[in-house]
């Protein structure tokens, strides 16, 4: 007989089948699993603090329409307001203000400015990827993000200066 212990062989086959199927069924851990788990622990209030400044408070500090540039508000949520900067119908950049004290769950956006090596209009500034931003009154983050390749880092800096940063610094 070729197979001396058919039962043992069967058990081994069964075991490998079980390992194979369960092994395949288990999903590889994903890079966002931790964030998904942490943010699911409560139903509401885990991302934005209740006492954040309302987004509508920020709108008046945005640059206005000028020289063919158009500002179109796109989002206004608690602690956050954003607008598209457009010219000839094309979105060149996204302008935004957010209350860093209202950001919960993920790391505090204000922390990165402690190591800021440059300033714009006297406020600590950070340039990263397609973004340039400043922190006003240690609290409000003003950011410009390029949406068009032609919109350069120096364009972003120039548009940050067009915000009423001084006015924003007096907002409490």
């Amino acid at each position: 007989m070729f197979i001396k212990h058919p039962r043992r062989l069967f058990a081994a086959l069964l075991l490998s089948l079980v390992l194979l199927t369960t092994g395949c069924a288990t999903k590889a851990p994903g890079r966002f699993d931790q964030a998904q788990k942490e943010s699911s622990s409560q139903r509401s209030g885990q991302a934005i603090a209740k006492d954040s400044t309302q987004g509508s408070e920020f709108n008046k500090f945005f640059p206005g329409n000028s020289d063919g540039y158009k500002r179109v508000y796109t989002q206004e949520k608690k602690g956050f307001s954003a607008a598209n900067l457009k010219k000839d119908g094309k979105v060149l950049a996204v302008l935004s203000v957010n209350d860093t004290q209202g950001v919960k769950g993920t790391s505090n956006p204000a922390a990165k400015y402690q190591s800021a090596s440059k300033q714009i209009s006297g406020y600590p500034a950070i340039e990263r990827g397609k973004q340039t931003s400043v922190l006003v009154s240690d609290r409000y983050q003003v950011k410009v993000q390029s949406k068009d390749d032609a919109f350069s880092p120096s364009d972003r800096e120039a548009w940050i200066q067009k915000f009423n940063l001084n006015g924003l610094s007096k907002l409490n």
């Binding site: 994903g30 890079r31 966002f32 964030a35 998904q36 942490e38 943010s39 699911s40 139903r43 509401s44 209030g45 885990q46 991302a47 934005i48 987004g55 179109v72 796109t74 989002q75 206004e76 949520k77 608690k78 602690g79 956050f80 954003a82 598209n84 996204v94 935004s96 957010n98 950001v103 919960k104 769950g105 993920t106 790391s107 956006p109 990263r128 990827g129 397609k130 973004q131 983050q141 950011k143 993000q145 390029s146 949406k147």
Partner: protein, 295 residues
């Protein structure tokens, strides 16, 4: 538990009937819509960033925002899902056809029933209302601000634009004909609150519609329709859209729709979920835009 934003975007199909239908409408605004699928791919597309650490931070922030119910994203997602009353069983049956072959409409004639004009009008109107409410949930303008919504329609681009173009095409022009706007207006005027309550899509989303009772909700639906009719008729005129032209493009994947536009509309209604598909894409885009600005 409801699905995470990662699952929702990762599970969006790259092909199938819904995607074929949306692609067939590309002629309305060539290149306007890209079928962006997957959470990380969406972050890269929306932000243009390539640094992995940066993408990770944006993604984590987006996940927190989505899971915070007070931020309205989950309610918007629910609206997009609920208003898309698709019959997946028939969709799956249609998909069972060989890949790359056109789907013969003839094979489904016995399985589908064209909707009466009034039911179709209510469907069309409810989709518009859902769009208005979801827009406000996502972008944060108070839920009864029809004026802001209309102004923003002019700003609609990408997946939001193709959703509205599909609404006008497959929920307006094909089932109701070239005069679908006036037809729908008069049909809405002749709809009683009781008839509205008998509509299954309405019962699904009625809690989200402003108004204390069916009668005031019906008013809100009418006002919403009235305020976007100008935009819809501009789209029809400027792109010279006709039922025949749209059906002609849809023939790239459905065969035998000539003279059977009401059946084509019914078939598309039960076999596609374009509201849910593009709604997920719109929501993910806005969520990621916010996350990217906030971090």
């Amino acid at each position: 538990m409801s699905k995470s934003i990662i699952e929702l975007t990762d599970e969006l199909p790259k092909g199938g009937l819904t995607v074929s239908m949306l692609k067939s409408l590309d002629f309305i605004a060539p290149g306007e819509w890209k079928n962006i699928v997957g959470f990380v791919d969406t972050i890269e597309e929306v932000t243009g960033e390539t640094d992995e650490d940066f993408i990770q931070e944006i993604g984590e922030r987006a996940i927190f925002l989505y899971n915070d119910k007070s931020q309205g994203y989950q309610r918007a997602m629910w609206l997009y899902n609920t208003v898309d009353s698709s019959d997946t069983a028939l969709g799956a049956a249609a998909l069972a056809n060989k890949v790359g072959e056109k789907i013969p409409l003839l094979g489904f004639l016995s399985k589908i029933t064209p909707k009466a004009d009034k039911a179709q009008t209510i469907d069309l109107s409810l989709k518009l209302v859902a769009e208005l409410i979801a827009f406000c949930q996502i972008n944060g303008i108070p839920g009864d601000s029809i004026g802001d919504f209309v102004a923003s329609l002019g700003e609609y681009s990408g997946e939001s634009f193709i959703r509205m173009a599909a609404l006008v095409s497959v929920d307006g022009l094909i089932p109701l004909g070239p005069d679908f706007i006036s037809k729908a207006m008069s049909s809405l005027n002749n709809t009683s609150p009781q008839e509205l309550e008998g509509n299954s899509t309405f019962s699904g989303i009625q809690d989200a519609i402003p108004g204390n009772n069916a009668s005031s909700k019906l008013n809100f639906i009418g006002e919403s329709f009235d305020s976007v009719k100008g935009w819809m008729s501009d789209l029809v005129t400027s792109k010279n859209l006709t039922p025949e032209k749209i059906a002609g493009n849809i023939q790239s994947f459905v065969d035998g729709a000539d003279g059977k536009l009401d059946y084509l509309a019914a078939f598309l209604d039960v076999s596609t979920n374009y509201y849910e598909h593009t709604g997920t894409q719109t929501l993910a885009r806005r969520l990621i835009e916010r996350a990217s600005a906030e971090i």
